[in-house]
Symmetry: C2
Subunit: 147 residues, 2 copies
């Protein structure tokens, strides 16, 4: 939500790009999932940039592909924000040990998400396998009929 000029999107645009409604975006902000970031004057329009769109799209993917609830997304986002706070210190205090620690945390986080995705993939593969087997059985029976 920092003020990078030239990439200012209004809520309607963001909603369109992400395939959700503006209501959803405001709701997610209310839950603490999205910006609300650097205080905007009361009544003023929300402004977003590309990074925010990417963020929202990732949230939607976690929701739709992995079936995470919004509460689970909030937990996840809280962990991310803790790391974002660390990232803030990245530029101020460039101690290399500190940087390695920050990276390590981020890596652990990404690995956890990846593990979730992989697990879901395995479940789907098992399911697919059973469906293939069923299909094979039916096709065999059909061939036997055609003889």
């Amino acid at each position: 939500m920092s003020a990078v000029p030239g990439t200012a999107l209004r809520i309607g645009e963001v909603a369109l790009r992400c395939g959700v409604t503006t209501r959803t975006i405001r709701y997610y902000e209310e839950l603490g999932l999205l910006g609300s970031g650097s205080g905007r004057e009361k009544g003023a329009h929300r402004l977003y940039e590309e990074a925010d769109v990417a963020r929202l799209q990732e949230l939607i993917r976690l929701r739709d592909l992995l079936g995470l609830t919004l509460d689970e997304l909030v937990e996840l986002a809280e962990a991310e924000e803790a790391r974002a706070a660390l990232r803030g210190r990245w530029h101020e205090d460039p101690s290399d040990e500190e940087r390695v620690r920050i990276l390590d945390e981020a890596i652990v986080h990404a690995k956890r998400q990846l593990a979730l995705v992989r697990s879901r993939q395995r479940n789907l593969e098992e399911f697919a396998g059973e469906l293939e087997a069923k299909l094979a059985r039916m096709r065999r029976r059909k061939r036997e009929l055609n003889r």
Copy 2:
């Protein structure tokens, strides 16, 4: 729901095995997803067999892995029941042409489900790919720090 003796389970057992509550099972029956099958006397306990457990587990998988709504499951089940009605005619009227038609319908159905699963797998693979890339970037930066 046919009367195969020796495999009679009560609702609580089924719930336990499938990781749901009895309420869920009754609700699914109310929606037409499960037996209610060959009329049971009013007030009598529901009885299930292994096939019913398998059926419920498949429904739960479709719900959890693919995120289908119960309405979508109902549509799916209605199509299945139409085919089950056909299967009834399988043994009465063993015309080979009829059997091929029945098999063809079942095959189309299984293919549709499989396509759904494959599509979901592709989406997950894309997601996993992005996560891997992110991980690789972070690991590279970490190595650069350790030099």
